[in-house]
């Protein structure tokens, strides 16, 4: 608990400084200090997701759907496939009713790209061809299992905030999976030397 408090205060210090300094560059860097702290980023995502629901719920459900990488990708892809191939793949009501589906993931890709370029952190990283196959397969299975749960870890977080017990069980299962993954990763690392 004490750690948590010091964590909050260590991040909060620049806020007071922002008010006293008039220099524009300093202010930008203070905002950036906030943006670099996952604590504030998490709070912001949670509150923004609630804001999105209060704005857009008239367009259709489900609830606690403000931000989800898995479901929103599913909506975009399925609407695109439906339009191109004339299929009738299921999407969330909000994406079905609206003129275009929820574009959050496309926004994330563009926003992160702009940010990476702006702060000169864009680096092209390549891997071996076999690793691409692993990542492709990983993406496919990740999506399938995430949709079993009804969302990626972020929507589970939103659902816990909304009062959903099954989402809490899902997060506990994720923790179990993470522990198993750590065991496997360490075993693999030891075998390789």
């Amino acid at each position: 608990m004490k750690n948590f408090v010091t964590f909050i205060y260590s991040g909060a210090a620049p806020v007071g400084m922002a008010e006293t300094k008039a220099d524009k560059n300093e202010k930008v860097s203070c905002l950036d200090t906030l943006a670099k702290n996952p604590l504030y980023v998490g709070l912001a995502i949670g509150i923004l997701a609630a804001l999105v629901q209060v704005l857009l719920i008239s367009a259709g459900g489900p609830e606690a759907y403000g931000f989800c990488v898995a479901c929103h990708t599913r909506d975009v892809v399925n609407v695109a496939v439906n339009d191109i191939a004339g299929t009738k793949l299921a999407v969330a009501a909000i994406s079905q009713n609206a003129i275009l589906p929820v574009l959050t993931v496309i926004g994330v890709l563009i926003g992160a790209f702009i940010s990476a370029r702006y702060y000169r952190e864009f680096r092209a990283k390549t891997g071996k061809a076999v690793s691409y196959v692993w990542y492709l397969a990983g993406g496919i299975f990740f999506m399938i299992f995430a949709l079993f749960m009804g969302g990626c870890p972020y929507r589970l977080g939103l659902r816990i905030g909304y009062g959903d017990v099954v989402a809490l069980i899902g997060v506990i299962a994720i923790i179990a999976g993470v522990l198993a993954g750590i065991k496997i990763a360490t075993a693999l690392a030891e075998r390789e030397g």
Partner: protein, 173 residues
């Protein structure tokens, strides 16, 4: 009671892509700056006792609760089922395959959760982190995102129906 938010239905159906795109831009920017990652948070905590990312994910839950609570107090009609547990008991918020029993949803959550955690740790991040790394120029993550798109179609076309049929045949759903 029909859920009604700040925007009327006619406006909301046009606003959906715009609002969500802006939300995505903000989250993408913040995610790139902070390295925000849910599964990475658990991983760092259990491997190195680093709490930086873990507190980020916990803050998301707290922030969501605060946000829902505040906006529910302002506009109750947009949150007809808040607080979900009091209205619907253990039934989860819609999203997983519809029309199953609570037991089936718990089983799906446990299987899905374990697999998601496992894949996330082995490939170095949750979906948001993979998207952000794609935008930072990581080609491996790009293949992960492509895999997610393929997985979405595979899931909706085949897996969803089979999974429900399997659960019903087993007498769980």
């Amino acid at each position: 009671m029909v859920a009604a938010g700040w925007l009327s239905k006619d406006v909301a159906i046009i606003a959906v892509p715009i609002v969500t795109l802006i939300l995505g831009l903000i989250i993408g920017w913040l995610g790139q700056r902070s390295g925000f990652c849910s599964i990475g948070g658990f991983r760092d905590f259990f491997m190195f006792k680093h709490t930086r990312l873990l507190f980020g994910y916990l803050a998301l839950i707290v922030g969501a609760f605060i946000g829902y609570l505040v906006f529910w107090l302002i506009t109750p009609s947009a949150f007809t089922n808040f607080f979900w547990l009091l209205h619907n008991g253990l039934m989860p918020v819609p999203g997983a395959p519809a029309g199953l029993t609570v037991a089936a949803y718990v089983i799906l959550a446990v299987i899905g959760g374990i697999a998601v955690g496992l894949i996330g740790v082995l490939l170095g991040g949750c979906p948001l982190r993979q998207c952000v790394m794609t935008s930072e120029g990581n080609l491996k993550s790009l293949w992960f995102v492509i895999g997610m798109c393929v997985g979405a179609v595979v899931y909706t076309m085949w897996i969803s129906g089979w999974g429900v049929a399997l659960l019903k045949a087993a007498g769980i759903a």
